[in-house]
Symmetry: C2
């Protein structure tokens, strides 16, 4: 693992690190904020999964999360959203290929060789973090924005016991029924839609739910709201009687101005679960 | 004036606007955060002047200032750092020309035709803001980062009564004695160093001082600290018995991770003066 940068930040350290990923078969870069408390021993970890077009860097510089993570003594990890590099397949569209991994393990050509983001996040990067930093992996929570909200919700429901709480900002909530989903799931997983179900938060909510609290914010002026389908997940959540807070935030859109506005409440929500 | 974008943000609105600037003879773009309170009447205004290479956008997305401005009911304006466009002179170096206006009125060719950033900020943009938004121009304060800290300090000291308080993050503090200063002042103002003195915070502190509180933070690990010369301004401030808080922040560098860490305290500092 190579240190790209480390900056003092809210009493802790905002680092950027690169490592050779076996599962993605390329170098992968991630951001990690460690609060001051990590100098004295392992701290809880909140994952932040980013959305389409993002790298590890966007949320790290624009979401304003470090202020609140420092206040709560929680680490933040910002993984990249896909494998990267000249040898890695890509597409001209912004919503397929590099920057658009969708947090699945691709099975189809040309994607399968590198696009293994589910295993990368839930297994390989998890091990890297556990081995290299002062993190208490018994206390993990997960959040994300848009495509990353989709990743956070599907991982939290698919890995019972792994995450104590899950939240999302404007998540892609029903990708098997949306153009933000059908295109990518067919490209990465093939046309057999049965393989898609494991990557749809609404279907997972119907099937499994989550053993812990859920917090989801979506802006009423979100320019992509028809692609996000919050109504499908809201219906499934209520039908399941799942412990959850789903909020429609008046006037907010899909931007980081929206994300940063509600970040304090999301971090506090996770802190409640992580320190319970 | 043209609205480029408006995003809901911490209960208020983060806008970006473009207008035809007479003094810079080109279109100029600025960011403006209006807190919720602006819907009910004029609010105080805090200027944020950015550093080398920045546009109106960097601090607007990375400094985390809106959270605290919203809490205090204060507006934030983020001007660009220079004139822009194909007709505007530029230089290959990052620290001269576009993105490096240094907050002066250029008198030398080829810069004088457009590089009039002192008048742009203190006169033209001030008028535009006053005419177009719910701002209480009797309650203004100013801050900035690096080259923008230089701009904030020189404007505050040169315009008595305009700003109730001034702060700076890692300001260029003695440009007439630094490579971050001598190069630009000679290019923009010519080789007669007497014309430079009005744009050196240390010389202005010796000459005039500021009729209000000053807060300055600089990181001890700032990679540009030898160019910033905080020691010169510290000496002049103490010699003048100027009301001021000058802090060296251990471990912090020149980045927005540093700026965002101390933003809450800077906004609170200005709020104390603006609401006094």
């Amino acid at each position: 693992m190579q240190t790209i940068s480390e900056n003092a930040c809210f009493g802790g350290t905002q680092g950027v690190y690169t490592h050779a990923s076996k599962v993605c078969a390329c170098d992968m870069t991630f951001g990690l904020f460690l609060p001051q408390e990590a100098a004295d021993g392992p701290v809880p970890l909140l994952w932040y999964l980013s959305g389409l077009t993002c790298t590890h860097e966007n949320a790290m510089t624009k979401a304003g999360a470090q202020a609140w993570a420092a206040e709560q003594g929680i680490a933040l990890v910002f993984p990249d959203t896909s494998p990267r590099g000249e040898v890695v397949a890509d597409d001209e569209a912004y919503d397929l290929g590099q920057g658009a991994g969708f947090y699945v393990n691709a099975t189809e050509a040309p994607w399968a060789a590198h696009f293994q983001m589910w295993d990368y996040v839930t297994e390989e990067l998890t091990r890297v973090l556990d081995h290299s930093f002062a993190l208490d992996m018994e206390r993990q929570a997960i959040t994300g924005h848009s495509m990353g909200g989709h990743g956070a919700l599907t991982m939290a429901m698919s890995l019972p016991g792994r995450f104590r709480s899950v939240s999302a900002f404007a998540p892609i909530s029903n990708p098997t029924a949306s153009d933000w989903g059908r295109k990518q799931l067919s490209a990465y997983l093939g046309t057999n839609e049965e393989t898609w179900a494991a990557h749809d938060a609404t279907l997972l909510m119907r099937e499994k739910g989550f053993d812990g609290p859920i917090l989801i914010d979506t802006g009423t002026n979100d320019q992509f709201i028809d692609l996000l389908k919050p109504e499908a997940l809201a219906e499934a959540t209520a039908a399941r009687r799942q412990q959850a807070t789903l909020r429609m935030q008046p006037g907010y859109d899909h931007s980081y101005f929206f994300v940063s506005t509600f970040m304090e409440e999301h971090v506090a929500f996770h802190a409640d679960a992580l320190y319970a």
